[in-house]
């Protein structure tokens, strides 16, 4: 990558640079855009100084109201809501796995060598991923009314894109050897899928599923804020009533479940995959 300013100059006097002028110019443009956007954002973002000055006092107030944590409240409603959150995350992930398998297969160009279908499948995956799970939740609350069903569907639809994209990519990376061997033996397409592709993509499939479940446990905790069931609904009502000691309890419960989910995922991954 070294670029000498003039090849005829003695070696000691040449100026060596890592990048060509075009590359340096391009990088400079990126830096300029970054700095300009930061400066513009700082200048135009609306920050109310009185609120900022008030912040330490508010934080102290918040912590005082949160303490002592309302532990006795846990068995009443928080436990059920917490379980509902876990159900939403798990069922949503399963739904996504079931729906994403065919879409992922359709998106893999080596399995379905027909470009329009690949593009259609990719379009489904992209649209599933670009809509936030909270927006999916708003849509499903609008359709099925408030409750865990809306949350499950929101988690499921948001996860299709993620699972399908990664699964499709894993399929595209699989080795052609075993597949050709099966085809040469005259296997029907079902056997090619089950004994040619599946063993190759199985580890990545399960690790994608576990990883998504872990994300979904975190995501399903907020869906209740828009009415889609789970612990978010308990959080929302505690917030609206300014019961900060209950808020603290709920936050602690979410924290515990998230950490637990992470431990489960690491252990399962270690043993199974």
């Amino acid at each position: 990558m070294g670029v000498a300013t003039a090849a005829s100059m003695p070696v000691a006097e040449r100026i060596w640079r890592r990048f060509t002028p075009e590359q340096r110019f391009t990088r400079f443009v990126v830096y300029l855009v970054i700095v300009a956007s930061i400066v513009l954002s700082i200048r135009s973002v609306e920050v109310i100084p009185e609120f900022l000055a008030d912040a330490p006092e508010q934080v102290v107030d918040l912590l005082k109201r949160m303490w002592p944590i309302d532990w006795p409240h846990y068995p009443d409603t928080v436990h059920a809501a917490l379980m509902e959150t876990i159900h939403i995350a798990s069922l949503g992930t399963l739904l996504a796995l079931v729906l994403a398998l065919p879409v992922g297969i359709l998106a893999a160009h080596n399995l379905v060598p027909f470009v329009p279908i690949n593009l259609l499948a990719k379009l489904i995956l992209v649209s599933s991923r670009s809509v936030n799970s909270l927006v999916w939740a708003l849509l499903f609350v609008g359709i099925f009314g408030p409750g865990a069903l809306a949350g499950t569907l929101a988690i499921g639809f948001r996860s299709i894109g993620f699972v399908g994209k990664l699964f499709g990519e894993a399929l595209e990376e699989s080795q052609i050897g075993p597949i050709e061997a099966l085809k040469a033996a005259g296997s029907p397409w079902r056997s090619v899928l089950a004994y040619g592709y599946w063993p190759q993509v199985k580890p990545s499939f399960w690790s994608i599923a576990l990883f998504r479940w872990d994300i979904n446990v975190r995501e399903s905790a907020v869906l209740g804020l828009v009415g889609a069931g789970g612990i978010g609904m308990a959080l929302d009502s505690a917030l609206n009533l300014f019961q900060w000691d209950r808020v603290a309890l709920i936050l602690f419960a979410i924290f515990a479940v998230v950490i637990l989910a992470e431990i489960v995922v690491t252990q399962v991954r270690k043993r199974v995959i």
């Binding site: 954002s41 508010q58 798990s90 670009s130 004994y195 959080l235």
Partner: protein, 286 residues
């Protein structure tokens, strides 16, 4: 040919455990689905509602575009500032958490900060910041800063822990001070991955900055939620279309930045087709 006789009758015989797991999963699904109160009646009303709902969603109504543009600009500002602050904070924290460079008494607190920052969804963190600093963009910026610290901190730590120590030792052997060890021994090894997570985080912050408004932390989310609650569905549709286009533009720009810094692409290269980073895989998608 004795070996053939020794094979089991069914060479593809499955072991017992996957079956047990499958049955357990099925039982769980039935149990959990029973809690969801799904009934045929509900599905029917749902389908009817869906029809009406989608009917009212279209055509999108862009007549209040000024409100829409204001919200989008605020979301962009939140994303830019949160990413900047988050990256600036995550670099020292991520470095402090790297076990191969730092002693345990430094890595433990740093790891704790990263775990804490990662464990809550940005919207929940936003609720707390709304209480602390009031409604508005600042709460959103702070909430997404926390999320960025958690995400970049974790990945940056992992990247540093995977570096080759030979170069670090070589720099140390020249008697270089610690800052030079970092600058010449560590940073060049993690720079391209760092660009990867930084652009990825900007993308992710952009997605979340359109949502934190639901709890009053600024950006387009507040407008979206208000329009939803007023059953202003044609405006909701307009907002959703704008959010999705914004996110897609953000994704294209992030890919361009990755190609410039990782593949040393120039402006002219960007307009040519192909390139490995444009198809780069991200497992950490959220």
């Amino acid at each position: 040919m004795n070996t053939v006789a020794a094979l089991p009758a069914d060479p593809f015989q499955r072991s017992v455990w996957p079956r047990v797991a499958a049955v357990a999963l099925l039982v769980y699904v039935i149990y959990a689905a029973a809690q969801m109160e799904i009934s045929w009646e509900r599905v029917q009303t749902g389908l009817y509602n869906a029809q009406r709902f989608f009917g009212r969603l279209f055509p999108p109504n862009f007549s209040r575009w000024e409100l829409l543009a204001k919200g989008l600009v605020e979301s962009l500002e939140i994303a830019v500032l949160a990413s900047t602050l988050g990256i600036l904070l995550a670099l020292p924290i991520g470095l402090a958490a790297a076990r191969n460079l730092m002693p345990p008494w430094v890595t433990w607190p740093a790891r704790l900060i990263i775990v804490m920052a990662r464990s809550f969804h940005p919207v929940i963190v936003a609720i707390l910041f709304v209480k602390a600093v009031g409604f508005g963009a600042l709460a959103g910026i702070l909430a997404l800063t926390v999320a960025s610290v958690g995400f970049i901190g974790k990945l940056f730590t992992e990247a540093i822990e995977e570096i080759s120590l030979k170069q670090v030792e070589a720099v140390r052997a020249t008697g270089a001070p610690f800052a030079s060890v970092l600058w010449f021994g560590v940073l060049p090894q993690v720079f391209s991955r760092f660009i990867g997570f930084a652009t990825y985080q900007l993308d992710s912050n952009l997605r979340n900055s359109t949502m934190v408004g639901i709890v009053g932390a600024g950006g387009i989310g507040g407008t979206l939620f208000a329009a939803f609650q007023r059953f202003d569905y044609d405006f909701v549709c307009a907002i959703l279309i704008s959010i999705i286009s914004l996110i897609m533009i953000g994704e294209v720009l992030a890919t361009a930045v990755r190609r410039i810094f990782i593949e040393h692409a120039t402006v002219a290269d960007l307009f040519r087709a192909g390139g490995a980073a444009s198809r780069e895989r991200h497992l950490e998608d959220d």
